[in-house]
Amino acid sequence: MISENRSLSIMINRGLSQRLASWARVKSPWITIFNSGACNACDIEVIACLTPRFDVERFGILVKGTPRHADILVVTGPVTKKQASRLRRIWEQMPEPKYVIAMGACGAGGGVFRGLYHVMESVSSVIPVDVYIGGCPPRPDEIISGVVTCLNLLKEDLDHGGKAWRTTPASAQATEETV
């Protein structure tokens, strides 16, 4: 009886702590920036986001120096073949749930570096990407908009209980439900 009560209270507490963590995650996402071979224009625009003119910290967006503390990984640039394994390793170090934003034309499809001997096709060929921000480089307001889009996605995922609903096609979901 006592053990049942305790497990019940743990479950309730876990639910509460989970809800609290989700709330905190949406309210104050911590991001980390990874340069996977960018020309630095994207990085400079990100810096412009952080400095007082745009100041994303007023929205609770904090930049962290380590992927282990981050919820969102912002990848700038095409992924060079040398950076690919490093990017994968950085991504693996992030705690779940993790989100990836690929920044700029290069992050989406290589940009001007597309097809060169030393770049991958895109960020998504190395790690799964949730949000793309277009532009070369994207303006700071576009970056903020991208992060906000990512947060909305995060909220939707919380409602669906994970990321799976996005990757499985609608037809497969329907058959799962009928079965």
Binding site: K81, M120, S125, V126
Partner: protein, 170 residues
């Protein structure tokens, strides 16, 4: 004082090397060498390049290596050693190394920063610098295939060869 050909001083009052002296010492009469007022270009055979760079450093104050450039000219690779010093004259010594046997002597003991350039050239162009203590990869990824030099004009990636990156797709 004689004309210094517009070359500024910079060695703290010692007698400056003049561009005429450099031209006289490094170029033969046949090649028109002086391009702009503070630059001298000279072609040097591979066997003499070490001696010429050492002489430029010892006797003419060329104590600074700006860079080593390399060009794929088809039959040869052209290495150009760009040197300068407190007199601000830029001396460019060009060496042609044959494509079949791309070897050049290392300059790491005369100009220590040359070692880094030589590693880059070895990595991307495949020129072997004899006497270099640590001629290993510096720019390309570690799993790049051996004996593939992407900056050579005749290089094409093999369609089904693995050039690095990540093997397992998520």
């Amino acid at each position: 004082m004689e004309n210094h050909a517009g070359v500024g001083t910079g060695d703290g009052g010692n007698r400056m090397t003049t561009i005429q002296e450099v031209q006289q010492a490094f170029t033969t009469g046949s090649d028109a060498a002086c391009i702009v007022r503070n630059r001298v270009e000279a072609a040097v055979p591979p066997a003499r390049i070490r001696g010429e760079v050492a002489r430029a450093r010892k006797d003419f104050g060329f104590d600074h290596l700006i860079q080593i450039s390399v060009t794929d000219l088809g039959a040869t690779f052209q290495l150009i050693y760009h040197l300068t010093g407190p007199h601000r004259i830029v001396l460019s010594l060009a060496v042609d190394v044959p494509r079949e046997k791309p070897e050049a002597p290392s300059m790491h003991d005369i100009h220590p920063p040359a070692g880094i350039y030589e590693r880059q050239i070895h990595d991307l162009m495949g020129v072997v610098f004899t006497g270099h203590p640590n001629l290993k990869r510096i720019i390309l990824n570690e799993d790049w295939p051996q004996n593939e030099f992407p900056l050579r004009k005749d290089w094409k990636p093999e369609p089904d060869r693995y050039y690095g990156g990540v093997r397992e797709v998520l």
